[in-house]
């Protein structure tokens, strides 16, 4: 099984990654520019006619800004943009980390059941939160749903990893199967909660499952970011370890890498980032798999660049998808999960189509 994993990684990893580091750095610069553009667009475009430029000009002249315009910019677009950056980066980096950890380019928190676990945590908090002791509820407050999603994501990541890893080797097929089982289990438990939920909660949960950045407020953003940020900051420090792991765990160990520590930190980071992202925005699919894969095709699999570039491209992509979701049927909104799935579904199929010979699953 490890031979299979190694072969699967082979055709991508043997293409002299070192030769592409300059390209990868150029990609980083290009993505940073792209993200900056996406941030500007996200602040400037929206259903309301509020113009970013006229507001900035008014501020520069020291004039007061109409309340409606200032609310649209600072209470709606600004937190929403920040949340888009955080969630997009978190999803893409989680995907890249999972793929590095499992040595398989098809791993993704959404596909292998981690997203479902985080979703279960969030749904449980929404439906059963009122049943918790008042002390816990009051202590956690706004943090209840993100923390529950984080715990759900963390537990399913741990279970997945334990099941799929035997004698230090991670089996690709086992991972996918265990992921499907985990996803089904989490889905079933979510189903029980949905059954308990009242009519109003039910309709909320349906839309929640499609994902949206529409609920972005400063309090939500400031709740989610402290959970995501450590994971995003920690990710680049795992690059060397993950690069070593592509050779297999034994080889990585002989390279002087603390294999178990890398694995533990990566699992914790994935759980935190996915958990917080799911809690903030619901189920947003395919960012975690499409973004790292596009970057590998573009600039190679070296995690030193892959992780940073994934964060940049993930953030930019989600902002663009969000701009589409809130303008295409304005003043109503399309759930962003629909936009990313419509864009990501075909790309994912194309990846499967191209790699079906290599994977041999």
């Amino acid at each position: 099984m490890s031979a299979l994993a190694f072969e699967a990684a082979g055709p991508i990893h043997t293409r002299a990654a070192g030769d592409r580091s300059r390209l990868a750095r150029a990609v980083t610069v290009a993505l940073a520019v792209l993200l900056a553009g996406a941030i500007l667009c996200s602040l400037a475009i929206g259903a309301a006619g509020t113009s970013l430029w006229s507001v900035l000009a008014a501020l520069a002249r020291g004039e007061s800004v109409p309340l409606a315009d200032s609310v649209v910019l600072w209470q709606i677009r600004a937190p929403r943009t920040l949340m888009g950056i955080g969630v997009g980066a978190a999803l893409a980096v989680s995907g890249a980390l999972m793929q590095g950890l499992f040595r398989n380019p098809l791993a993704d928190p959404g596909i292998v059941g981690v997203g479902a676990g985080a979703g279960l945590g969030a749904i449980a908090a929404i439906v059963m939160g009122a049943a918790l002791p008042a002390m816990i509820r009051e202590t956690l407050g706004y943090y209840l749903v993100p923390v529950a999603a984080f715990l759900g994501g963390w537990v399913s990541t741990l279970v997945l990893y334990r099941v799929a890893t035997r004698r230090g080797r991670t089996s690709v097929a086992m991972m996918l199967l265990a992921g499907i089982a985990l996803g089904a289990l989490a889905g079933a438990l979510s189903g029980i909660l949905v059954y308990i939920a009242d009519d109003a909660q039910l309709r909320d949960l349906t839309f929640w499952g499609l994902g949206s950045l529409a609920g972005a407020t400063w309090s939500k953003v400031l709740t989610g970011l402290p959970i995501m940020l450590p994971a995003l900051v920690a990710a680049p420090f795992l690059a060397r370890g993950l690069n070593g792991l592509t050779l297999g765990e034994a080889a990585a160990f002989h390279l002087g890498i603390h294999v178990q520590r890398v694995k533990n930190v990566a699992i914790l980071a994935v759980a935190a980032a996915t958990g917080a992202a799911v809690a903030l925005s619901g189920g947003i699919g395919f960012v975690g798999i499409v973004v790292p894969h596009l970057l590998r095709l573009m600039s190679g699999p070296d995690h030193r660049y892959l992780l940073v570039n994934s964060a940049l491209l993930g953030a930019a992509l989600l902002l663009v998808a969000d701009i589409v979701s809130r303008t295409v049927i304005a003043p109503a909104e399309l759930p962003i999960g629909i936009v990313t799935a419509v864009l990501g579904g075909p790309v994912f199929l194309w990846i499967l189509f191209r790699q079906r010979g290599v994977l041999d699953l």
């Binding site: 409606a68 609310v71 009242d198 309709r203 839309f207 003043p331």
Partner: protein
């Protein structure tokens, strides 16, 4: 009717500063929820509406208004983009974050209490009238609707009919109404009995529970598919086929908002339902 210039001035004022304009009579109103929109039209105040939500499908003219999306998934920027000076909504508009943000823009947000009884309808009319600052018109409409509702009397034989309201039949799984719902309310208003009282809200029913409920009539929303198709689908369901309703072929279908809206048309809906219950399956 204000002279055009004054109207323009009021509009300019509203655009310049929403909270100031709130002290004037609001004339850029967003109506959210089918029942509320119907009441606004019945009050004859539709000229003051600028937008509605997806569930506001009656009267047909309402569809010419800007649609700001689904009542539970409002986009704060979308709502603000129509520059409203008043938002009148059914209970349950959300998400809460969106409502909070809209409130921070200083736009009055009036929630009309929900309810599925005669009195609840009258309270809704009063509340909408107060929000729109037309209490006299509201009182008149209220009296008219109250009289109308009092006239809904059930024939004696309807009173024994057990009615099973089916919300949906996704993949053969039947979602039925228990107590405390609009469906339960309209069945009571029409003078019949709800066949399922074991739970609150809408829940999936097992085939055995359907058999045990022994409905005389199946009630559903008309979703625009052909009546015969729907009829064949519902009555051939194995669990329903063995009930009195299935054997008699007693299926009543009515427009969802008309049947369940609990608004100004509800008296008529209850009368129609009572009449349908009386004749169906004969």
């Amino acid at each position: 009717m204000m002279p055009p210039l004054a109207r323009l001035a009021a509009l300019a004022l509203a655009l310049a500063a929403a909270p100031l304009a709130a002290q004037e009579r609001p004339d850029r109103i967003v109506s959210i929820g089918g029942a509320v929109t119907e009441i606004v039209y019945a009050l004859g105040e539709e000229d003051r509406l600028v937008a509605r939500d997806t569930t506001s499908t009656y009267p047909p003219e309402a569809s010419t208004l800007t649609d700001i999306g689904y009542i539970r998934r409002l986009s704060p920027e979308g709502v603000l983009s129509v520059r409203p000076d008043l938002i009148v909504t059914e209970a349950g508009a959300g998400p809460p974050e969106a409502v909070e943000v809209i409130g921070s823009a200083g736009i009055p947000f009036v929630e009309i209490p929900e309810g599925f009884t005669r009195d609840a309808i009258l309270q809704k009319i009063t509340a909408v009238g107060a929000a729109l600052d037309v209490p006299d018109k509201a009182a008149a409409l209220r009296d008219q609707v109250a009289t109308d509702l009092r006239r809904v009397g059930a024939a004696a034989e309807v009173a024994d009919k057990r009615v099973l309201f089916i919300l949906s039949m996704q993949g053969g799984r039947i979602m039925a109404s228990g107590t405390g719902t609009a469906a339960d309310g309209i069945i009571a208003l029409a003078g019949a009995r709800n066949a399922v009282t074991a739970f609150e809200g809408y829940k999936p029913l097992t085939d055995e529970a359907i058999a045990a409920a022994r409905p005389d009539v199946i009630l559903m929303m008309d979703r625009g598919e052909g009546h015969e198709t729907a009829r064949a689908q519902v009555l051939s369901h194995p669990a329903i086929a063995s009930t009195p309703a299935g054997e008699a072929g007693a299926l009543v279908r009515m427009d969802g908002l008309y049947l369940l809206g609990f608004s100004v048309r509800t008296a008529a809906a209850a009368r129609d339902l009572a009449a349908a219950l009386e004749t169906v399956g004969r």
